[in-house]
């Protein structure tokens, strides 16, 4: 195995790579078997008859290979907060986490609200094995008033629009953004929050916010906006995607919408499935994010909704912040936690053993995110471009944020013992494969 495959800065071309002995799982292709994969110049051959003697052999017995994972909700902070993350460091974090694609939110400084700026970000990732998409701002300067030039943005590849970090507050603007995006075959991603209700809140309103004396963000501040979005979808027929669902009532509204055949999709973040507001009890700002960690009832509802498909997508809301920003008083520190480099291990350790089958997981991290962005699904089949995530499901490891490829270390999962880890990715003719 040549060392060059483990270089995150300059991933090696997948010219002549033989992946041997792994269990290959691609539910869409009906594939779940131990079979060799051969990648020549980025193109797949499944079960090659002849083993090319000159190939780089990689022994992956005991490993799992799936189509490349996709994180529908990340923040790469460029331009504006390069101290926390850049497109390059974010892509490296994605590789290290097993993601071959990401969708970046536009709340940079300045925000990604015009085609020139979006293209500038896209160009930064053009040579990366990580396929980077930009979710453009829905309104100019994310100010919630004037629509961005959606058609022009569509023409540079944008398929989703969001003022994420904040909701589109005006219901009229929300309607117009949804309708205009719908005309293009794109959709609005809403960060659902009634900010008059969440106001100064910094954690979930509940017993723990009461105990800690911290201003609360009531769950209804999210659910009420989810309801508003769904009613607008029902009225206009325009699709909506609900970002980072965190409450039981949001889940119930989304379930209702789907039962009525409305074009509503939704995502949930790993941390909302595995943590509750009690985690804030030591005032550790690595547990502060928006929406906040909720009650056990909310957590369980989100987990069940991911299993039964009410929630389409599992994402991370990877939100890097510098050490300096997070080393402040809890109410002052910014919202957000990193997630790209722990999501896969957490899914294998805590989601699969708790009712989410591997095929269902892949639906949520491979196919659904791309479907929401109108992208074709990757397939593991002869002649297809190799777009793969390589997983060692047995390795146990301890989450050490100082080892992240991300520039930021604000993980609520620091110190967690996980079983299952990214071994590497292959995508866009390139491969990054790590040795532990």
């Amino acid at each position: 195995m040549p060392r060059s495959y483990s270089d995150f800065e300059s991933p090696a071309p997948a010219r002549n790579l033989l992946l041997e002995g792994a269990r290959v799982v691609d539910p869409r292709s009906g594939l779940d078997q131990v079979v060799n994969l051969y990648v020549r110049d980025g193109v797949l051959t499944v079960d090659p008859r002849e083993m090319p003697a000159s190939a780089d052999h990689l022994d992956l017995r005991g490993h799992v290979i799936t189509p490349g994972w996709f994180d529908l909700h990340v923040h790469f902070r460029e331009p504006g907060h390069e101290v926390a993350e850049t497109v390059e460091s974010g892509c490296q974090a994605a590789m290290n986490g097993g993601f071959t694609g990401v969708a970046c939110m536009p709340n940079t400084e300045p925000p990604l609200d015009d085609a020139g700026r979006v293209q500038w970000v896209l160009d930064k990732a053009s040579a990366s094995p990580v396929e980077l998409h930009v979710i453009a701002a829905a309104t100019r300067n994310r100010a919630g008033q004037e629509l961005v030039e959606m058609s022009e943005l569509y023409d540079v590849g944008v398929r989703a629009f969001s003022d994420d970090g904040a909701p589109i507050r005006s219901t009229a603007v929300l309607r117009h953004a949804m309708e205009y995006a719908h005309m293009l075959g794109a959709r609005v991603f809403q960060h659902a929050e009634d900010t008059t209700l969440s106001a100064e809140g910094v954690m979930n309103e509940g017993e723990w916010s009461t105990r800690l004396g911290l201003p609360g963000v009531p769950s209804v501040s999210e659910s009420i906006d989810v309801m508003r979005c769904i009613l607008m979808t029902q009225y206009t027929g325009a699709a909506i995607h609900i970002c980072h669902v965190s409450t039981n009532d949001s889940v119930e509204w989304i379930r209702w919408a789907k039962q009525h055949g409305l074009p509503v999709t939704a995502e949930v973040c790993t941390h909302h499935l595995l943590l509750t507001d009690e985690a804030c009890k030591d005032f550790d700002t690595d547990f502060k994010m928006s929406p906040p960690l909720r009650s056990e009832q909310d957590r369980a509802a989100c987990a069940n909704a991911l299993i039964d498909g009410t929630i389409d997508v599992l994402c991370t809301d990877h939100a890097p912040h510098s050490w300096e920003a997070k080393m402040q008083e809890f109410d002052v520190a910014p919202f957000g936690v990193v997630g790209l480099e722990t999501a896969l291990g957490l899914a294998f350790t805590h989601l699969i053993p708790n009712g989410l089958s591997l095929p269902a997981l892949l639906e949520r991290v491979v196919y659904a995110p791309r479907r929401v962005l109108s992208q074709p699904p990757p397939r593991i089949a002869t002649g297809e471009p190799a777009n793969l995530t390589l997983i060692d499901p047995q390795t146990t490891w301890s989450v050490d944020p100082s080892k992240f490829r991300s520039r930021s270390h604000n993980s609520p999962f620091k110190g967690w013992e996980l079983r299952g880890r990214t071994r590497g990715i292959v995508n866009r003719g390139l491969a990054v494969i790590t040795d532990f």
């Binding site: 916010s209 009461t210 005032f283 402040q328 809890f330 002052v332």
Partner: protein
């Protein structure tokens, strides 16, 4: 070395019956010192205490400072105005810089809940919380409990009603934790908009009717109401508040037996409490202030009293 099983006093949420009893018993002994002709003992000689106040405070800071001086500690006051904070220094840097000047105890007040907990994780010094936002004000609750214990002999089984703005009150939260731990019943009385939705899970009762509360409690702890809560739409007017939640002599006459009246100060006379109640024979408001010094002496002694003294270092 602390004489309690805690290095710091960050709040009463994690103080046990034994811990609170130790503080109150020690405070009784400290109170004796305050009655002597020479109100000073050498207990904390060589111990340096910094009063780190990031929020304006008069009585709490003076009370701590007196407690420190009565115990012969060296004290320094730091207040936010005119400090490095105005130059944009972080809380942690401010605290680390002060600690680097070799101090033993930080008494701090700050607007952010959890800020003393944050500093306690990063400093070697003993941290005493003198109020962190709407979270805790443990020495206030301890002095309230000392005052109640003096009056009733015990806290167990007492029915204490906290009246007013519970949502924004660190005094209320510390009292709830402390009183519940000590086996007292706690009734919260105030407008629905000023009582946290989930506070019921802390084992308290809630009422919005002060007259009804008066019929079934032994003491009332009246909290300060702030005009800014009206401005943010939490209650309609001070006039309406006074009419329905203001403590007056007429209201108190309905009680079967005279009720003990506490107030953490500063009072809005004529708003949450009528003057004749505040100054009446069953008011213990000034006793609270005296007990405040004793309780703070007790806390400082218990947490820092076994610090190495100069003599110990030599031997």
């Amino acid at each position: 070395m602390s004489l309690l099983p805690h290095k710091h006093l960050l709040g009463l949420a994690d103080y046990s019956v034994q811990d609170i009893t130790t503080v109150l018993d020690t405070a009784v002994r400290m109170k004796e010192i305050l009655e002597r002709p020479v109100r000073k003992v050498p207990t904390l000689r060589g111990v340096t205490v910094v009063n780190l106040f990031f929020e304006p405070s008069t009585r709490t800071r003076v009370s701590f400072e007196l407690a420190e001086k009565r115990l012969s500690a060296d004290t320094v006051n730091f207040s936010a105005s005119g400090s490095s904070l105005s130059k944009g220094e972080t809380l942690l840097d401010t605290a680390l810089n002060i600690e680097a000047m070799k101090i033993d105890v930080v008494v701090m007040r700050h607007k952010s809940p959890g800020s003393p907990h944050f500093l306690a994780r990063h400093l070697d010094s003993v941290v005493v919380n003198a109020g962190d936002g709407c979270h805790e004000h443990p020495t206030q609750a301890l002095l309230d409990m000392l005052t109640l214990r003096e009056k009733f002999g015990t806290l167990k089984g007492l029915r204490i009603c906290l009246v007013g703005d519970i949502s924004h009150s660190r005094v209320a939260l510390s009292n709830i934790f402390g009183l519940r731990t000590m086996g007292a019943q706690v009734i919260l009385c105030g407008p629905a908009t000023l009582i946290p939705r989930d506070v019921i899970r802390l084992g308290v009762e809630i009422t919005h009717n002060l007259d009804e509360a008066i019929l079934r409690c032994d003491a009332l702890n009246v909290l300060r109401i702030q005009l800014e809560r009206q401005q943010s739409g939490l209650f309609p007017s001070l006039r309406e508040y006074q009419t329905y939640f203001g403590l007056t002599r007429r209201r108190l006459e309905k009680a079967a037996a005279p009720l003990t009246i506490l107030h953490p100060g500063p009072m809005n006379r004529g708003v949450e409490i009528a003057s004749d109640v505040a100054d009446g024979e069953h008011s213990v408001i000034l006793a609270q202030v005296t007990n405040g010094v004793a309780v703070r002496m007790a806390v400082l002694y218990l947490l820092a009293g076994a610090q190495p003294q100069p003599a110990d270092v030599r031997s």
